[in-house]
Symmetry: none
Subunit: 180 residues, 4 copies
DNA sequence: CATGAATGAGCTTTCATTCAT
DNA sequence: TATGAATGAAAGCTCATTCAT
């Protein structure tokens, strides 16, 4: 699994071969198929782990405590999780469009993430700390707000400026962009 | 080209075969290779056209006229362009991670788009209609704000609610999310 | 035909394409097939012309006149004919092993040439100017004596030293190699 | 390798397909590519073995012992080696003109063979058993003397009369053809 | 008669997967 | 359980040839 993760992160699903994964793991091809049904299967397993890692870092907001720092902390952990180990690269570039099953897993992942954001928005609206308004599309927008800079950094091959990104996201969340 | 666009949009680069493209176009395999060097080549051509379509709908802001409606109109055209014909699906899912050349083209595309957004932010700051602050990461965030809902709609196989999205984006741009 | 000859001489039968021949001749592909049935056909025609050229330069020996100079002159003309225009390259490298028909043509060509040499040997023996002995294999040996240096020059891409070759051949013919 | 040798000998490089080689060997196409990079590669390997076989049978002349029988023995072994297994067919018809690399290998082969002959001629001249005179072209002529009858037999599809050929070559070597 | 776009059979090659050891 | 040689379906691509214009 760890070897597969490295190989998929480095080469992507299509350019990576089972042979590469086996070589990286130091086992024979047959051994691979004793543990995984197919290349597709291990990729799905790797992706699932990555999704769990990403979703796992988000901590539910405690409404009794100050909210803003909790949101910031969540965003920061999220960004770090996605930026680590090419997780973003695999999840955002490779996982989409593989096949129906893969897309379903991806939909579930995003559905869960967006659901959490939307729930947070609703709770925030109820508490009066989030502006009222439609939440479904807004949740998707917020997801993109965080995801896109990570994707761009991966595409450019640059390290991500996590603090800067958290600050930028925070600014947009708090006050938008336009004045007046 | 039109046939290839349909096939790549439907099946993706890897699942689509030259045979599929030829069948869709109603020509023989040899005919294909009279016009394109390789499967990779025609995909690059399709992607390039899509990129041009997307970038082409963005009209420079006229600072003499009211700015907000112009921004809204740009966002709306952009969203429609990306949502049409699975452009988003191809550009966001298939084009990334193919090879070095493809990634370079993608970087150029995003670089141009982000550059435009950043320039607009700077101009807006100079005019006093955009809050001051860092612009590079913010530009990426704004790109994600628009891109992600389109991607999600494509992933879910739903039609995109363009007006709703434009409204949601507008809301975030104007006032952010958080109160106080 | 002239264009085909150039192309086949330059590229060989297999690496040359009908497209190359047409480009060299400045005509369209369809035009080519108005005059020749196939690539194989025009190659056969080119080869036939070359064979005729080679065989045509050999002049029957006039037994009334001094014989040695006539033989030398024949060898020299033969060498020049084979060395010119990559004739040797086409005849010796490309024409063999194409298909049954091509091999048959080649057999006829060599059969004729070897027959001429053998007849000359027999006549010479009758006249007492050629040592007695078996003639069939000897004729093949003599053919090789002339052909091989031409082939080697073509393979090495060097110009052939015609005078030197004629002298060397003459020396072997007259006195062999070994002493005593 | 053995199967490939048979197939290349029978069909030639261009008419032989990897499929034929695999069928002859009784293995699947994939198996072939586990051992050889390409059709070109295995052909080069086959040719190399053939070249080594041919060059390997030539034994250096021992100047202390009678020379003529040694030369005859060498020629005989050479002829047998080239005549066996369609070695001549592959080496003389198929190997030439494939590509730059193949021609280079062929040049090396012939260069080595001609070099050996030339060295033998020089040694013979020093020992006074070979007539004085130019050696480079003469060496090529002698090569042709032996090679051509083998080639002709292969082309005609006849078995080669090895003893007759050795005798004919011997006659030419010793006394040439012409009298007086 | 010249054209050249269209053709499609057939080639080489790849690689996920199997299975006897 | 680990192995890795063997597998073969399927892909991309070439090029001699045809035929409507």
């Amino acid at each position: 699994m760890a070897a597969a993760r490295r190989v998929f992160a480095r080469d992507g699903f299509h350019r990576a071969g089972v042979a590469n994964v086996c070589a990286e793991a130091g086992v024979a091809r047959g051994t691979f198929y004793n543990y995984f049904d197919s290349k597709r299967t291990i990729f799905a397993a790797v992706v699932e782990v990555m999704m769990a890692e990403v979703l796992g870092v988000v901590v539910p907001i405690d409404v009794a405590a100050p909210i803003a720092p909790q949101v910031v902390a969540n965003v920061e952990r999220l960004v770090r999780a996605v930026a680590a180990d090419d997780v973003g690269r695999v999840l955002f570039s490779e996982a989409a469009g593989l096949d129906a099953e893969g897309d379903a897993a991806l939909r579930e992942f995003y559905g869960f993430a967006i659901g959490r954001i939307e729930a947070a928005l609703r709770t925030g609206q109820a508490l009066g700390v989030v502006r009222s308004g439609e939440t479904a599309l807004t949740a998707r927008c917020l997801l993109g707000l965080i995801k896109e800079p990570v994707f761009q950094a991966a595409l450019a091959g640059e390290a991500l400026d996590v603090e800067g990104l958290v600050a930028a996201v925070g600014r947009v969340l708090r006050g938008g962009i336009l004045i007046g």
